[in-house]
């Protein structure tokens, strides 16, 4: 193999698995160390800069970082990265004076954002302090988008939304709430310098089965029903409830039902348990609230009597893999089953809908009715119009909406300066030695043997009694500290200097994870087989040195399960290994 180019920013970035997996590339280990030191406000600001909504995301994030966490591969469960964000948010001292100030002088550019969800708010957060006049339109009376309208209050208290949305509205965007944009064509005529479409994916799919019309009074579309609950229009549901669907919306529907009078609430899903779209922890939370999940049942009809819903019939199926390798659900030939109920919540998917965007204003749509949007610049085929969040590529989640928002803001800024939006700014990267003395490092390198801590919950009876009462209590400072200590500091990188190495083997002998090998060079596939421990995880890079002076062998380090304990550097007699902190700072619009 060729010697590894550690100057390329992506090399060490990939080693920081969580940061690499985070759509907004939040410097996770950096803020976790701050939490361990009790520097909650600092930790909050590291987050705020990257992901804008630390308190909200610390309760609701889809956390793509956690399955990526190295702890999964060396132990079992990931660091509770998400809930540690909440520790920072809950315990911080006031941070208002650390926020950017509204721009002192406008730069003369006007931007319209359609929708006040996390995507638009991120665009405003980046552009407003730079002097842009950002006007945010939303049909709803309050900003926040689905964060406010969909996510149930028992998962996310409204005070947290108010606080973090408030930090952005405080930057001076013009909030045009209660104003639905009925025509993009008309908006274009108002001569904004750019328009950002962050209108989300607002339409819940229906199930057109026999009985749907007749029993309509007790059949509700999940997301419409949830927003009605959020806005206080609905406060009760029947005693027996069936939720159809296996995604996160279904989980919110069933748990909300339990709090609004639903005593016998069931989730019934077409697919198997493992194939359900809901995150594992959402399923766990639902089952904890005594909600059974029934699988492999395909709904066939709504039953009704005298215009009233009486239940749903299902056909039992099983999953079969056909010749082409596709999974299909086929009936197992058993009789249909009937589940009686008083209400049904349909949570079988969410769709985009753009009835307010004319098709003749230069914005191209594909065969599925989605706008053609660049994944790099988020520009549509109309150079003035950018998309982001759920509106761009279909429903995702908050952290993706934020990442899109940052990227779209860069494009809008470049567009307004007449620059090419496909040219993207490089991230800021620093790599700094953590050595303080012969046996002293500036980070806590002792590896915690603690298993992941569970977030304490409010007693079930109390939690189910009030739809607005937050069910998770969050880690207290002490547990937060211990959970933070589980982080392996994957951003403290092992950096190798071949001219210094005398090939004494000390690093090989001490490494607890058998990461390091000195061997004859070879092609990657061959090298992976003959290391101290075989490197079978091809998703993780090998770090290969230039040939060494003593024997002509190369040093090969498998990054996969390195604990970043620094023992290699500690044991190296010549300082050929050093532990250096890699900090990657995404460049946002301001510095672009």
């Amino acid at each position: 193999m060729e010697p590894t180019n550690i100057e390329a920013p992506e090399y060490f970035h990939k080693v920081v698995d969580c940061q690499w997996a985070c759509p907004a590339h939040t410097p996770v280990p950096e803020y976790i160390r701050m939490i361990a030191e009790g520097r909650y406000a600092d930790a909050y600001m590291v987050n705020w800069k990257s992901n804008v909504f630390p308190g909200i995301l610390g309760r609701t994030c889809d956390r793509p970082c956690e399955p990526a966490c190295r702890r999964v591969r060396v132990e079992d469960e990931p660091v509770a990265i998400c809930r540690l964000k909440r520790v920072a948010a809950d315990n911080k001292e006031p941070i208002e004076d650390r926020l950017p100030r509204p721009a002192a002088t406008p730069n003369g550019k006007r931007i319209a954002c359609v929708g006040a969800g996390p995507a638009s708010l991120t665009v405003a957060r980046d552009l407003a302090p730079m002097g842009y006049r950002v006007e945010i339109f939303d049909a709803d009376a309050k900003a926040g988008g689905m964060i406010r309208s969909q996510i149930p209050r028992f998962r996310l208290p409204e005070s947290v939304i108010d606080e973090e949305v408030g930090y952005i509205t405080g930057l001076g965007p013009v909030m045009r709430l209660g104003e639905r944009v009925e025509s993009l064509g008309a908006l274009l005529k108002e001569d904004y310098d750019a328009i950002f479409v962050g209108c989300g994916a607002p339409r819940g799919r229906d199930l057109d089965l026999p009985g749907r019309q007749e029993a309509a009074a007790n059949i509700h579309i999940g997301i419409d029903w949830l927003s009605s609950v959020s806005f206080g229009h609905i406060t009760r549901i029947g005693r027996r409830v069936i939720v159809l669907g296996g995604g996160n919306t279904a989980m919110d529907c069933c748990r909300t039902s339990r709090r609004l009078g639903g005593e016998a609430v069931k989730v019934i899903v077409r697919s198997g348990f493992d194939e359900m779209k809901a995150s594992p922890w959402e399923k766990e939370d639902a089952m904890h609230e005594d909600i059974p999940i029934l699988n492999f049942l395909v709904p066939k009809a709504f039953t009704h009597e005298a215009g009233r819903l009486t239940g749903v019939t299902f056909e039992p199926v099983e999953a079969v893999v056909d010749e082409a390798g596709r999974r299909r659900l086929v009936p197992i030939g058993e009789a249909d089953v009937h589940h009686a109920c008083d209400d049904v919540l349909v949570a079988v998917g969410q769709e985009n809908a753009f009835p307010w965007i004319e098709r003749d204003i230069g914005i191209e749509f594909d065969d599925w009715g989605m706008p053609v949007v660049s994944e790099v610049s988020f520009a549509s085929t109309n150079p003035k119009v950018f998309f982001g969040g759920d509106a761009a590529f279909g429903p995702k989640n908050i952290i993706w909406a934020v990442a899109h928002g940052h990227d779209a803001a860069i494009s809008i800024h470049r567009h307004c300066r007449g620059e090419d939006v496909t040219v993207r700014p490089a991230p800021g990267v620093t790599l700094v030695s953590q050595k303080m003395g012969i046996h002293e490092w500036s980070y806590d390198n002792d590896v915690s043997n603690d298993a992941r801590f569970r977030v304490p919950l409010r007693p079930k009876a109390e939690a189910l009694g009030n739809v607005k009462l937050e069910v998770e209590l969050g880690f207290d400072a002490a547990v937060g500290f211990h959970e933070a200590q589980r982080c392996l500091n994957c951003d403290i990188e092992t950096v190798f200097a071949e001219p210094l190495c005398i090939e004494c083997d000390a690093c090989v002998d001490i490494c607890p994870m058998d990461c390091i090998t000195f061997t004859a060079n070879g092609p990657e596939a061959d090298l992976r087989e003959r290391l101290s421990a075989p490197a079978l995880n091809a998703a993780q890079d090998l770090y290969v040195s230039a040939p060494l002076g003593g024997t002509g062998r190369v040093m090969v380090k498998d990054e996969d399960v390195c604990l970043h304990c620094g023992l290699c550097a500690e044991r190296c007699p010549t300082g050929a290994w050093d532990m250096r902190k890699f900090l990657l700072d995404m460049t946002h619009a301001e510095a672009a």
Binding site: R73, V74, E75, H439, E440, W441, D444, N445, D446, V447, N449, I502, E503, C504, D505, A506, V508, D509, I510, P512, M513, D514, A533, P534, L536, G550, T551, V561, L563, C565, G566, L567, E570, R571, C572, P573, T574
Partner: protein, 351 residues
Amino acid sequence: MTYITKPRLHHPLLQPNALGFTRRDYEGKVSTLCAGCGHDSISAAIIQACFDLDLPPHRLAKLSGIGCSSKTPDYFLGGAHGFNSVHGRMPSVLTGANLANRELIYLGVSGDGDSASIGLGQFAHAMRRGVNMTYIVENNGVYGLTKGQFSATSDKGSKSKKGVVNHDQPIELVGLALQLGASFVARGFSGDKAQLVPLIKAAIGHKGAAFIDVISPCVQFNNHPGSTKSFDYVREHNAAVNRLDVIAPRKEIVVDYEPGSVERVAQHDGSVLTLRKLAADYDPTDRAAAITHLQAHQAIGEIVTGLLYVDPAARDLHDYLGTVETPLNRLGDAELTPGARALAAINQSLR
């Protein structure tokens, strides 16, 4: 925080041996030696060898003298018996222990100062008596622990870190062991575990006095240009006579070498030593030839390594003395005080 102990976590694919232990279970306390010391690599090789041999740690006794090298038994096999004796006196303490209980596996760990300077007499007698043990000298050519004075194995002409030249003739422990009748003699290098681990495994399987001289650079006091025990010097002058594989008893022997290039030696414990020849016509079962080969190569400045000599039919001290097989601590009153009649019979036999 630093100076941490090695984390308990290990590679997810780390395999257990026949006893269900992983290699990590054969480790000891965290080493206090200088970073990069060759001795730590030898500890790692001993750990690997004992793991490979499926040794139950409590069946092993580690004995040592005084020195950095003699400290190392604390850093491997935490579950074994250990005795850190007096400077140069490991061989006699080990001999005593071995006579009292022949059921343990004896590992003597010593330094060049410990064995060639103060303990030379002790070393000689353990070899000539055929004490059943593995005797490892971690040879760095200096007294590491007392700050790097030349030891008795330091080569004539070798320079100290400060530039002082050694004028004394070195004691060649491998040559001595051969002359004194050791029945297994080998030399390895701390920087070549592929060679060292099989040597240690073979020595442990050997019945009789097994001696391994392991060149082990002292990174602190003897790893500079002008030293003949530095990493660079040893790598440049290493002349291995063979490459060894140890095949455990009852394992199938798979041949993948050219005919004639390999020699096989069956040991007492049933293991088979497979020796791939590197030096043409080197015969590791010919003691006199081994001595000659060693001296010839030493004269041209080469360091001969590998398995130099083995006598697979060797006997040990217990055989010569006809001692009781049962460990002394398991003998009961009846065996230990056979009574007046037995005494009378002995007296009678001597009249």
